[in-house]
């Protein structure tokens, strides 16, 4: 039983090491940011997953395995979210993905030309600018009509009461 677990654990560690190095090599070989994200996701999901699996097999059914499960789930969840946010921030910053043209060469392509609805979202004003621009006029508009109207309502109510 122990020998079988050791063999499985060895296989998991070797596979995890392989995928980890492959992802890191892809990080250096890929041509632009978006494909590099793809390469890194290999090492952050498969590489880490197999290594943690190997450690779980070594630890057995103990509290250590529970902690490993927590680390694994947190890494998988946060890796996906961070990659999503990174791609979004890169697109919003004007980073153009490399796409193949008709001749098969890689050229930086504006993604808005392929997906017009993306342009609407990317052209939306940033929150930091729009909040400051809209907050001031809205506040003056509300206090202007509301102040006198509220005062008149209160006055008429008082008059009716007395």
């Amino acid at each position: 039983m122990g020998a079988i677990l050791d063999i499985l654990s060895w296989a998991a560690f070797l596979g995890g090491s392989f995928f980890y190095v492959v992802g890191a090599v892809g990080l250096n070989r890929m041509p632009d940011v978006f494909t590099r994200m793809h390469a890194v996701s290999v090492s952050e999901s498969l590489g880490v997953g197999l290594m943690v699996l190997g450690m779980m097999l070594q630890a057995g059914l103990t509290l250590v395995t529970v902690k490993l499960v927590i680390i694994l789930l947190a890494l998988w969840a946060t890796g996906a979210v961070a990659t999503h946010a990174l791609a979004r921030a890169a697109l919003h910053d004007g980073e153009k993905p490399l796409l193949a043209d008709a001749g098969g060469r890689l050229v930086p392509t504006d993604p808005v030309s392929l997906f017009p609805e993306l342009g609407v979202r990317l052209a939306a004003p940033l929150v930091s600018e729009s909040v400051e621009a809209e907050a001031a006029p809205v506040r003056t508009d509300e206090t202007g009509p509301d102040g006198p109207a509220a005062g008149a309502g209160n006055g008429s109510g008082d008059n009716g009461g007395t």
């Binding site: 890191a24 590099r36 952050e44 630890a59 680390i71 946060t78 890169a90 910053d93 729009s130």
Partner: protein, 96 residues
């Protein structure tokens, strides 16, 4: 067998450092920095197992959460130019 995995993680760490030094855009560097954070967590866990003290995993859990928050904070700074706005629910958020 832990030593082999540690060597693989160290190789990945070195390649990520190369990308940080070479990366043309800030997003490349941020991607590599995130990868280095993951490598640090794996090194902590593997080193704890190799020395027979898996208590290092508690530090690893802390690092996972710090890594996530750090990456999202830098990305939010890139996109909005500032940290810590009151978020209007009708507007587009930074994760939506």
């Amino acid at each position: 067998m832990f030593a082999i995995a540690i060597i693989a993680v160290l190789v990945g760490l070195a390649l990520a450092v190369v990308r940080i030094l070479a990366g043309p855009t800030a997003f490349d560097r941020l991607l590599a920095a995130n990868n280095i954070g993951t490598s640090a967590i794996m090194l902590l866990a593997l080193f704890g197992f190799m020395t027979g003290r898996p208590e290092f995993l508690d530090i690893g859990i802390t690092y996972v959460l710090l890594n996530m928050i750090g990456t999202l904070a830098v990305l939010k700074f890139f996109r909005y130019g500032a940290l810590g706005h009151a978020q209007d629910p009708e507007r587009e958020g930074d994760l939506r």
